[in-house]
Subunit: 251 residues, 2 copies
DNA sequence: CGACGGTTTGAGTCCGGTCAATTGTCGTGG
DNA sequence: CCACGACAATTGACCGGACTCAAACCGTCG
């Protein structure tokens, strides 16, 4: 019972915070399921019994849009991109997922997006039916799933504002700021980020072209707000300015 | 117990289908809460005891972005728009809500969007704390909320594709097709829709300007695919063509 | 070293935005 | 019933930001 309350308290916090706050976090501890911060050993063994640990190399596809949705999955290590395609090949990346992120909230009987590894990835695979049974039996998990879905909806709406109303430059600034904010939450250095994705990926995420993204970065560089280092590393010199641009103060 | 299963079966269906399928649907019956198709009288009285029925005229604001999130609400009659603003006034409408739609899945401690009535609106207001207690006590409701959130996430991703990768003409076609699909689900005439929102609203939903939306409509008209009638009514003559354009077969 | 994929840079085009004027619609009141 | 005003919708002319096409420039890895 006390356990249940511990889990309930974390409901409206982002995944990263939860992980750091709770010593018993399954993701950071056993690295299996990041949804429940405090799970009794009995339930945990149920989870352990249905999970299968997998790996994928960069470029490999984890899930295919349109396939029957048989599994939930949990990213343990690495980065993946989630995208949808139009019939003629135009692509929209709806999100990049990092360790601790869960995949499976946003589909019904078939997967509605394709998921592809950007880096070598470790992940956990849960047969959907069995996973749902565990959720049925351990109620705090359902609460957490709902809380996560709620958070993702908020993020999705933010993304819509970006796609629909921000300029190219603002989009790029928003993208960088989102990465910085994420770094802050997992307590890394906040003034530099590593881009594991290509310019084309960033473009497909921001609703732009590779060329425009590239031009955007060089412009931020010449204005002295960022530095482009080797290995896709970006050092942000003027977080303040970048943040203001990202917010969309004015055109 | 049998009740619980009845509710569980409807999990991955859209709200409209649920309403029509279940005779005891709270929304279509008592018009109070559309989340649970089959709720025991005892729980239902709990719901009834915390709800307050409200009305709003067109143009009135139901919720304000940034305000403390004290309530959930359920649209009973009319249409509302949900939007976010950038500091300089640019606006992105993230969705239009219709009877049966629920508001409250996508916010945490403060409202993340503003909600405004497009037509005179009837809605139900639930104090958040008490609402959550009811959810705690009637588990199928939590499952339904999760299912809804999941559906909304899928829709949000579809929206991102539209905003990021579709042309103006395709956006307009997608918008009309979405309205037609919705009409079909609630069993209305499928070949005509009524636009309760202005061109400016449509523009802010599609990430365009009023002028572009207007031009888009007239072009669809001159091509003979739609007819613009009085009272904001749009008759779709060639659903096939419109649907193909909306899907984004090619530019 | 050379090949290959990713990135940057350049020149030109076009889609959708901007600004401005006109037309249409609807509710109100004389 | 019609005239009027306010606001929405349409249409036109022009502009500009992002796209397209193309070439040059990397960095990495066999």
């Amino acid at each position: 019972m006390a356990m249940a309350y511990a889990a309930l308290n974390t409901i409206n916090e982002p995944a990263e915070r939860r992980c750091n706050a709770a010593a018993g976090c399954v993701n950071c501890g056993a690295r299996e399921l990041s949804v429940c911060a405090a799970m009794p050993a009995s339930d945990m063994s149920r989870v352990t019994s249905i999970v299968s640990h997998r790996r994928a190399d960069a470029g490999e596809t984890l899930l295919n849009e349109g396939d029957k949705a048989t599994h939930f999955l949990n990213i343990v290590d690495g980065t993946v991109k989630v995208y949808k395609l139009l019939p003629d090949g135009r692509r929209q990346i709806t999100g990049f997922l990092y360790p601790g992120d869960l995949l499976g909230l946003a589909f019904n009987d078939t997967y509605t997006s394709t998921v592809e590894a950007l880096t070598p990835v470790k992940y956990c695979l849960f047969p959907r039916r069995q996973f749902e049974r565990v959720v049925d039996e351990f109620r705090p998990m359902e609460k957490q799933l709902l809380a996560r879905a709620s958070n993702e909806l908020v993020a999705a709406q933010e993304q819509m504002v970006m796609l629909g109303r921000k300029t190219a430059q603002e989009k790029i600034a928003s993208f960088l700021m989102a990465l910085i904010d994420r770094n802050r939450r997992v307590n890394k250095r906040s003034d530099s980020v590593v881009l594991t994705m290509t310019r084309a990926d960033i473009a497909d995420y921001l609703g732009l072209t590779t060329e425009t993204v590239s031009r955007g970065f060089t412009r931020l560089k010449t204005e002295g707000w960022i530095e482009l280092c080797a290995g896709g590393k970006v050092r942000v010199c003027d977080v303040e300015a970048l943040s203001e641009l990202a917010a969309g103060a004015d055109r």
